[in-house]
């Protein structure tokens, strides 16, 4: 278990290697930015809380000073042996011990202990002790309430910062394009918004409280020792290099292990969620045993690292503790020697010893601080990584509304498109470069014109760029070259809001939101009346099956509700788009998961609903294509065939072949 040289257990196909990176220069920039954007607006609240924490940190010194007063001027324990000869003390003591106070069961040792010079004690010791007690209690109350106040301020500020960070991230993620969403996946985006911000908040809180407390205690302790006994301070200073050395030796290793651990953990999550998603595949190929083994290896690798980190911590803590303990003992014994020599009072000795002891607190605090800062840096880097992601699609400042009504039509001119490079971590830069050159254009110089009020059907083999073309028309991606114009207005120059309002999209894989059926249909048009919703549902052929459900339009669907079949989902997204009554409709093979009867009925309703609208649709079905004014066949990103049904049939190409296949 503790063989630190063997690392092979982490090499595993399901575990992508961790990235060890992140330099301190980048860290500085991150902190600066965090300070400017998130901390600065709350500067007064933060300052107040820092001040309060600083004041509160010196609480322990005050208490040990009060203890010194008790020992030296009230109880007058030990100490000034030089003033009174030993023998005299004992005699006096014994003379003064009243018999009644000392029942026989009191041990001899105690009797000796009690033989402290009563004569030496001030007469009003009792009263002094009482007043001291009052001061003592007042001090504690005041410090406690200062601390309470400080913590409350701190909590409030933390929540504000957390909220802002979270909302900024959420806003940004919503604004980012689909290609980014696709690259990161839901799980990772979610962890950015929720857990990284939480981690940043916790780390920030710790930095402020630990850092301030450490600095304040350090200053207070050094001041006390300077006044009290500089030799003790020297001794402590001599220990500092040992601490630094210790930290230097273990920190990189611990950090490395923690990065490995985090990576393994995210791999386990990935593995498990993937397999849980596809249990049917695992079971149907009888791969349960293999999967258990895969899980076992990852889980073991994680726990091995966890044990190692724990071990490192224990060893480091032990050495730290040992130094503290040794120094502590040396001071105690050295102080004891001075006391016995009569060169220092017992109270002062105890006070200095506890001060020296307390001074180790900031030292360990600062050791911890570097770990916390590391955590903060990682969390911030991940948050700002998202916030800095350039927006691929932005609204032009001089944007104009969508031309309504559309008079001329939609012009696609020399359109080319290439998907942005993926982030395959396992590729070397050369391979990535090769990949980039290799990746061909999905769309290559496509030019089409759809007159207003006419329908264009796009056909072609899978991977020929049909869906990409629709996504470009909806401005979900930005074309690599060429342009799309609506009535001569460039798509890039159209206001987002009006574009979304006038352009309806029915995607191939319909997305549903957790909520009622009604909410889902009315997603694009919140103010729709019941009548309109019913009409849209009926047009999409989903009214009947909704009415078969126990609570009909109020049926919950999505995460917590009923699951819908592929066909039902497609019909839902069609109803959603029809409800918004757009001028231009983009339909992406929206009947592929439907059975023949439903498909036919939907085609018939579409034929009536789309009259007067401009429509561009992707379809595999000849029966849909023949209803369109124009048909375009895409092949490898080019327009291979273009024309009406008759023209294409005469052309005797892909379309004619498809027609024969589907009607023979």
């Amino acid at each position: 278990m503790l063989n630190f040289t063997r690392e092979h257990f982490r090499d595993y196909p399901y575990r992508t290697p961790a990235h060890h990176g992140g330099n301190d220069a980048a860290g500085g920039a991150l902190y600066w930015r965090f300070l400017r954007e998130y901390l600065w607006p709350n500067r007064w609240a933060l300052l107040l809380s820092i001040l309060l924490v600083a004041v509160n940190a010196n609480y322990s010194y005050v208490i040990s000073y009060l203890n010194r007063v008790v020992v030296d001027s009230i109880l007058v324990v030990g100490g000034e042996t030089s003033e009174i000869p030993d023998t005299q003390v004992r005699l006096t003591a014994q003379d003064h011990i009243p018999v009644a106070r000392h029942p026989p069961e009191v041990s001899q040792g105690r009797r000796i202990g009690l033989g402290v010079r009563f004569t030496n004690r001030p007469a009003e010791a009792g009263r002094k002790l009482f007043w001291l007690a009052v001061v003592y209690i007042l001090t504690q109350f005041s410090f406690n309430f200062v601390a309470r106040w400080a913590a409350r301020r701190q909590i409030a500020v933390n929540q504000v910062i957390l909220g802002k960070l979270r909302e900024d991230l959420h806003q940004k993620v919503l604004d980012l394009s689909l290609s980014y969403h696709h690259r990161l996946g839901t799980g990772r985006l979610l962890s950015r918004i929720m857990s990284d911000t939480g981690a940043a908040k916790t780390a920030l809180n710790e930095v402020i409280s630990v850092g301030t407390r450490g600095a304040s205690m350090l200053a207070g302790g050094v001041a006390i020792l300077l006044v009290g006994d500089w030799r003790i301070l020297m001794l402590l200073c001599a220990c500092a290099p040992v601490f630094i050395l210790l930290r230097k030796k273990t920190r990189p290793e611990v950090q490395r292990l923690q990065i490995e651990q985090r990576q393994t953990n995210s791999c386990i999550y990935g593995l498990v969620s993937q397999k849980m998603d596809a249990v049917k595949a695992v079971q149907s190929y009888g791969r349960e045993r293999g999967e258990i083994l895969a899980f076992h290896r990852l889980s073991s690798a994680y726990l091995r690292d966890a044990v190692r980190v724990e071990w490192y911590f224990m060893v480091t803590n032990f050495w730290t503790w040992l130094i503290v303990h040794l120094v502590n003992c040396v001071i105690f014994l050295y102080g004891g020697y001075l006391v016995l020599q009569g060169r220092m009072s017992l109270g002062k000795m105890l006070f200095l010893q506890s001060t020296a002891n307390l001074l180790f607190q900031p030292v360990t605090d600062f050791t911890q601080l570097s770990f916390i800062l590391q955590r903060l840096q990682v969390a911030l880097a991940r948050c700002f990584g998202v916030l800095d992601e350039p927006l691929e699609i932005t609204e032009d400042p001089n944007a104009v509304p969508f031309p309504t009504p559309l008079c001329q039509g939609v012009a696609i001119e020399h359109l080319s498109f290439q998907y942005p490079a993926g982030s395959d971590a396992s590729l070397t830069p050369e391979e990535r470069e090769r990949n980039r050159n290799h990746r061909q254009l999905v769309l290559d110089d496509v030019s089409l014109f759809v007159p207003a009020g006419q329908w264009l059907c796009i056909m072609g083999a899978s991977g020929s760029g049909k869906t990409t073309l629709l996504h470009l028309l909806a401005r979900l991606y930005t074309p690599t070259a060429g342009s799309i114009r609506f009535d001569g207005v460039d798509l890039q120059k159209i206001q987002f809001a009006s574009l979304r309002e006038r352009l309806g999209v029915v995607p191939q894989e319909a997305q549903i939101f957790s909520g009622s059926m009604r909410d889902n249909i009315a997603y694009g048009y919140l103010n729709a009346t019941n009548q309109q919703i019913l009409k849209a549902a009926a047009a999409a052929q989903m009214h009947d099956f909704i009415m078969e459900m126990p609570v009909q339009y109020e049926t919950l669907i999505g995460e917590k509700g009923q699951s819908l079949s592929g066909g039902q989902r497609q019909r839902l997204s069609l109803a959603r788009a029809l409800l918004t009554n757009p001028d231009v409709l983009l339909l992406d093979d929206c009947t592929s998961a439907l059975d023949a009867n439903t498909e036919r009925r939907i085609q018939e309703t579409l034929a009536t609903q789309l009259v007067g609208k401009t429509a561009i649709m992707v379809s595999q079905r000849i029966s849909m294509a023949v209803r369109c004014h124009q048909i375009a066949v895409l092949a490898d990103g080019h327009v291979a065939e273009l024309g009406t049904h008759q023209q294409l049939m005469a052309n005797n190409g892909f379309y004619a072949k498809l027609f024969r296949e589907q009607t023979e």
Binding site: Q274, A593, T598
Partner: protein, 582 residues
Amino acid sequence: MSSQNKIGRVFGFARKYRRLIVAAVLLTMLLAGMAVVPPLITRALVDRVFTCGETDQFLFLGFLFLAVPILSQVLAIAQKTLSVMVSVNLINNLRLAIYRHLLYLSLRFFNRTSPGKVVNRLMEDTWAMQTVCGGPCLTVISDLIIATSATMATIAINWRLALALYAVIAVFVLNYRLRIKKIIRYSRLVRREDDLLNAGVQNRMGGDLAIKTFGTEAREHLAFHDQDVISLDYGYTRDVANNTFWMNVSLINALGTAAIYLLGCAMVLQGEMSYGDVMAFSGFAAQLLWPAVRFSQLVGQLQEAGVAAQRLFELLDEPCEITEKPDAVPCRRLKGQVDFEDVHFHYEPGVEVIKGIDLHVSPGQTVAFIGATGCGKSTLLNLIARFYDVTGGTLRLDGRDIRDYRLHDLRSQFGIVLQESHLFSTTIRENIAYGRINATEEEVVQAAKAAEIHDFIASLPKGYDTKVGEDGLALSVGQKQRINIARAICADPAIMIMDEATSSLDSDAEAAIQRAMTRVLANRTSFVVAHRLSTIKNADQIILLDHGVIVEQGTHDALMAIPNGRYHDLYTKHIGKGVLED
């Protein structure tokens, strides 16, 4: 389940490590015993050496003062190492047991439970248990011993002061009791709100295309903001309640120690105690107060771990619906004769999905199920692969009830291609060879060629070693589908099941795959569900289902020959004989 039972079950997973546990417990007890010594040394130093000037004791006591804590620290490291090892292994075993169980659970469970929830339980709940199983359990033991010995020591030194100390401890516990309810309540609220926030974001990420196309970003962000405000608000209340609790703890601690100290000093003035006694007393007070807080905390932690254990055991107790008979027969490759004998099935009692199906399929035949959505096509396929057990009648494979076969052997007879294609985040090669790990390069390539995906893979820079999925190459739906088909082909099954396997492909690619499939399917029984009737025309039997019963059955030609038959009707409509009339 009673809590004792739960604890017993948790430790059932640690039985292998009982020696380590015993060693850890013994070490803990030793350490706790040693904790009494340091305050007594301080006391002796102050009373004997500093007060009475017994300088000859100075060196000896000084040595003890130095050495005893070092010894106990070294022992503490050993103890902690042991406890970490035990807890880590314990949790690992628990996780493995749960994961294994999950993989064997029936699809009914996964239809009911979202994968995210299962993953959370597997990962988070086991962590919650680990935090308790390691250190805290041993802390209880050591705290109990330390508390006992400290109690005895304080009573021996001065019983009246000891009473004062217990009063302080009582206030300590009272503070915990009064405060903890609010903290727990708000912690739960925060967790609930965060879950909602999470679910909201997840929902939005799943619907990103819809959000973009309807331009509802602002509305969605507002929804997030509203939810966020609630969550932050509860978070503030929880943190403040927590803070109040801890501030109370430190106030009571400070005042309590001060009171004990000052009372002790007053007693010194009265001559009832020595100052060394007071110092020792303060040391013991610290040993007694913190266990009181820790104990209170532990109750909460134990409660949380109890909830986690409860949920984990719920998972473990989820009955494996599909079980193997003890006398199940092993089987090699079967011929592939399938018989349905009056098969009935329902997901929920009272709602029959399959209502008495009789069907004989000879080896090598291709059977196509068609019918409207919800007619029971996919359910039948699930029954054949025994993802569910029939609720009535029998299903025979090569003349033997499928429930008599060993599950692993039975499942390895099938190659299944589903409508929703899953790829695992690994190389394409591993994805294709998933059903047969020891497949040769040649076999993988052959399968890819048959699924019409080889050319595409070969065109990639890393070829079959290209990673797909989360961190890898993004594939289109059609490409994923073809890799899935390649996977099924590569597994070389006796029976092929295709549930809408080609729905995402264009007709051209589909036709190509069909041609390849006829070769691959030559001597295999196969079951096909498809919307496109053109793809199933050549099937040996076409079964038209309606609400769980067979309506029409026969070859394409036989069915087309039925005048006004349902299939005839469907086919003419579908194939577009009427297309040009519109």
